[in-house]
């Protein structure tokens, strides 16, 4: 294998992405990752904590059932800030447009961004626009960056999961990836699968209000899906995770498409779901609170954390057997976000 080549898998959010970050990007740029590999960096300045994050969006198609590249770009950055417990304040928008792109489509995307920002309660504060020659980019790529502030002293991070904690998912898994894939591949389904793209800061505020310091980890399982995210957390926290497959909510249409295409919904991207890892005595309360919120109505406890065998994730399958759960290897679905 030629080690010099960047492959599509390096952008999958799975193992290859981690390798590229650990071997090249982080050591070259900073030496020590400020973010500790969380969704956003938490910076302390003059005694005040700030959250800072950035993300780029290359999804294909740019319009898909349940969203578009514009709303996705806003939600993604808002959610990254929310996952460290910050309230998103403002975001920047960098547009890279391909020569020949339609003004009409650009307007639709910008209007969608504006609506998404209003819904999330963030200001679009600054931006940049570049146009490249036809063929140098595919229609439109968007980068967003965001700043968030903290209204509490809580410290959330992938390294905080502890023995006995319960794992809650906020709703059905795999909706975004399958919505984009079905649309891209022209799969004809009886009822359309919609992307779950949504801003999670409102739901996070509810979770933190209810759970307080019993909430140890919040993560949005985007690329690589729930499986990859939980494996990351198990490694960061040096704990082992056991899932109960039967309790993981999956939309029937998503399950059907996954069965046909040989995909595992646990590895399919979400853009409006979160995983909350919560101390056992608060889990039930947090779950109830989440279910009152529209974005958490299908929330469910899907497993728990144990101390033995650091870094392992296992699952009791629907059939009653046990199996291991690994990170996504290679690419599952390129250009999903």
């Amino acid at each position: 294998m030629n080690k010099d080549l960047i492959l599509l898998g390096h952008g999958s959010g799975g193992k290859l992405s981690h390798q590229l970050l650990d071997e090249l990007i982080i050591p070259t740029l900073s030496g020590t990752p400020v973010s500790g590999q969380n969704d956003a960096a938490v910076i302390t300045h003059d005694g005040r904590r700030l959250a800072f994050t950035t993300d780029s969006y290359v999804v294909d198609p740019i319009f898909f059932p349940g969203g578009d590249i514009g709303s996705l770009a806003v939600h993604g950055t808002v959610n990254d800030l929310a996952m460290v417990g910050a309230q998103p304040l403002c975001i920047s928008v960098g547009l890279i447009l391909e020569e020949g792109f339609s003004r009409h489509d650009l307007r639709l995307i910008l209007e969608s961004m504006r609506r998404a920002a209003d819904r999330a309660g963030v200001t679009i504060a600054t931006g940049d626009t570049k146009v490249v020659a036809r063929g140098s980019a595919d229609r439109i790529f968007i980068n967003t960056a965001g700043i968030g502030v903290f209204e509490h002293e809580l410290e959330l991070g992938g390294g905080n999961a502890g023995e006995g904690d319960r794992i809650i998912v906020s709703g059905t898994v795999g909706d975004h990836g399958i919505a984009v894939l079905a649309n891209r591949e022209g799969l004809e389904l009886e009822t359309e699968v919609l992307s779950d793209s949504a801003p999670l800061n409102g739901l996070v505020a509810e979770i933190l209000r209810e759970g307080g310091d019993a909430v140890h980890v919040l993560r949005d399982p985007t690329r690589g899906g729930v499986a990859t995210t939980l494996k990351e957390i198990a490694l960061q926290s040096q704990v082992s995770v056991t899932l109960l497959e039967r309790s993981i909510p999956v939309h029937p249409q998503v399950r059907g498409v996954c069965a046909i295409l040989g995909l595992d919904p646990l590895y399919v991207a979400n853009e409006g779901k979160l995983l909350a890892i919560v101390a056992p005595d608060a889990a039930e309360r947090v779950l109830e609170r989440m279910r009152i919120h529209p974005l958490g109505k299908d929330a469910a406890v899907i497993g728990g954390v144990t101390a033995a065998e650091a870094g392992r994730v296992r699952m009791e399958t629907v059939a009653g057997g046990m199996r291991g759960v690994e990170m996504l290897a290679g690419e599952q679905l390129p250009r999903i976000c």
Partner: protein, 363 residues
């Protein structure tokens, strides 16, 4: 009822497991069954079924992952085609990461080759229709399940008058290698979990010579957890009763005679040929070659290319895995020098590969 949950119900699965344990105790010895098909291998790992079986019942994986049994030279040829200008290589996603002697299709794509993932050979025909100034070469890798659609794609390309659609074939038939493995005393097989979808095409009767001449129980089994467990139960019962016959567990899909229409399409375009299997060698009559009358669609005959000399990877034991001689954990490279991100052998790459299943789902 959604025709999925019912077949995955843990109460039913555990009930069958209890029956198997009872029966197996009667046999009074260890039994080794081979699941020939990669999809079964995946299902067994994915649902953790091994852990539910009694210690007397051992399941081993066989040569039924088409990508895995395709020899490295085939990947080299596909890589060579992808390097030709004016060529689009269309393939199922599984072939992308399979390492050849010095490269893979994924690496070639990163270097600029036009390699497209398709879900059906008919999508490759559409690509050829839309790109008439270029050659579209479809990588026809698969067993009897896939081959009729490849045959269909060639017929459809002919009807459309396409002169730019080609198939690089590596088509194989399943029953032949099963005969070779049955005769292997080292394996000591007691029965076969026969493929589900392959059998839907060729019919369960295709295994009758195996059961009758080689005295080995054969059960055509579905892919859901309850299917696999029931298939194992039927095999154990045959062993206990000392009989060898072909039974169909997957009767909701598979018939004794198979799918005649699909077989006719297959036979129209393909004819039996000798084929090389990774790890097993050349098995006479185990392949399917494109017939002379469709030679214009055969990439090997119609598009010439220079292929690099074959270089096997040292230490790779895919061959032994595919013959059921060793389990993934027995291979010195497994999860060390060979991982899904940096695979050495095909068994770690394919979504139906035994090593990929063991790596992804092993506990």
């Amino acid at each position: 009822m959604n025709y999925q949950d019912e077949f995955r119900d843990s109460r039913i699965v555990k009930g069958i497991a209890a029956h198997i344990a009872e029966l197996a105790a009667k046999a009074g010895r260890t039994m080794t069954f081979m699941e020939v098909c990669g999809t079964h291998t995946m299902a067994i790992y994915q649902y953790g079924l091994r852990g539910l079986l009694p210690p007397q019942v051992r399941l081993i994986s066989g040569p039924g992952c088409p990508v895995c049994v395709t020899p490295a030279g085939y990947v080299d040829k596909a890589v060579a085609y992808s390097r030709l200008s004016g060529v689009i290589v269309a393939t199922f996603g599984d072939m992308l990461r399979v390492p050849g002697s010095s490269s893979s299709l994924m690496e070639e794509r990163a270097r600029g080759a036009d390699v497209r993932v398709v879900y059906s050979p008919l999508d490759a025909v559409k690509l050829a229709e839309r790109n008439r100034d270029r050659c579209v070469i479809f990588l026809g890798v698969g067993f009897e399940t896939t081959t009729p659609t490849v045959a269909g794609s060639i017929i459809s390309a002919q009807q459309l008058g396409l002169a730019n659609y080609f198939v690089l074939g590596s088509h194989r038939t399943i029953p032949k290698p099963m005969e070779v493995l049955t005769a292997d005393p080292e394996l000591g097989l007691d029965g076969y979990i026969c493929p589900a979808h392959v059998s839907a095409i060729i019919g369960a009767d295709a295994y009758r010579p195996l059961a009758e001449q080689f005295n080995i129980p054969c059960v055509v089994t579905g892919f859901e957890p309850t299917d696999v467990m029931q298939g194992v139960q039927m095999l154990v019962r045959q062993v206990v009763e000392r009989v060898s016959r072909v039974e169909i567990q997957y009767s909701r899909v598979v018939k004794p005679e198979g799918n005649r229409k699909a077989c006719e399409v297959l036979e129209e375009v393909f004819e039996p040929s000798d084929a090389e299997w990774r790890g097993i060698g050349v098995i006479p009559g185990s392949g399917l070659a494109i017939r002379e009358k469709y030679a214009a669609f055969d990439a090997e005959r119609a598009v010439s290319v220079r292929v690099e000399p074959l270089r096997e990877h040292a230490g790779c034991r895919c061959g032994d895995i595919l013959r059921g001689k060793i389990t993934p954990a027995d291979c010195p490279l497994f999860a060390k020098g060979c991982t899904p991100e940096a695979p050495v052998g095909a068994c770690m790459v394919s979504s139906e590969g035994t090593c990929a299943a063991a790596y992804k789902y092993g506990i």
